[in-house]
Amino acid sequence: MRFAVIVFPGSNCDIDCYKAVRETIGQPVDYVWHTATDLSAYDAIILPGGFSYGDYLRCGAIARFAPVMDEVRRAAEEGRYVLGICNGFQILTEAGLLPGALLRNRDLKFHCHSTLLEVVNNETPFTREYAKGEIIDIPIAHGEGNYYCDEETLARLEANGQVVFRYKKGENPNGSVNDIAGVCNERRNVVGMMPHPERAVSELLGSVDGRRMFTSVLSAWRERHGAAVNG
């Protein structure tokens, strides 16, 4: 299974994502510059955190028009796996690949600490190895992670099971509606989240709860492709 980690000017979690893939599942992974126009070789695409284009105008507003985004859209339409983390999530919402928007944190502060998340939907390719309702420890690091969508969209997300992660009750760090920390598209192959699973893949980092995001998507891919377990 081949992974691409997209690198925009201002991405700063690209190396963490690359190493998380290598460390957790040992699959081939490439850094792909934002000017790339062909992602057909990749089964999964990760949009990493950071401050693409300096967050100018709005987080992700300029990155969504990077040449590579047409290919990310194509991959999403073809059912390949797309994961946006933090700034990557912001880019996916700006691009319209995921609903909603990320606003300034309710208290205007940049939050950088571990958070407890509830796995709400464990039927996405990225969460299938978690238990539904399981509480996991994944850090956040953002100033604009306050998830917002209008009430109609929110009702639809909840009804469709598109809320993938919620901050544990009483621990919402940023003011997100319904404590939402991560969502997916209707088809479930595109997931966006503010917390950083790639920073929770080793005991040395304080948590290994992010590892299963990577092992999950590998097992989803293997199942789809009937690949041998050692493939």
Binding site: A61, G100, A101, L103, R106, N146
Partner: protein, 80 residues
């Protein structure tokens, strides 16, 4: 021609910055201040002659890039 674009947060969307500024104004004694909303002001120089066409182009810029329709409204003025 010059376009002046105003991007504002939709009325039903919380504006934490506006709330913080409101609090600061109150603590400075400006107690008459009610709700505060913070938006963006942009000046665009345009190489354009036809006003109607310029208006259509600026509208497209707003919808495509300058404002996020999920959370923001926009309006603009053309001069010159």
């Amino acid at each position: 021609m010059k376009a002046t674009v105003y991007v504002t947060i939709k009325q039903n969307v919380l504006d934490p910055q506006g709330a913080a500024v409101q609090g600061a104004l109150h603590s400075l004694g400006f107690t008459e201040v009610g709700k505060v909303r913070i938006g963006k002001y942009m000046e665009l120089e345009l190489d354009a002659k036809d006003r109607a066409e310029a208006a259509a182009r600026v509208k497209a810029m707003c919808e495509k890039l300058l404002a996020n329709p999920v959370v923001e409204d926009y309006r603009f003025e053309l001069e010159g």
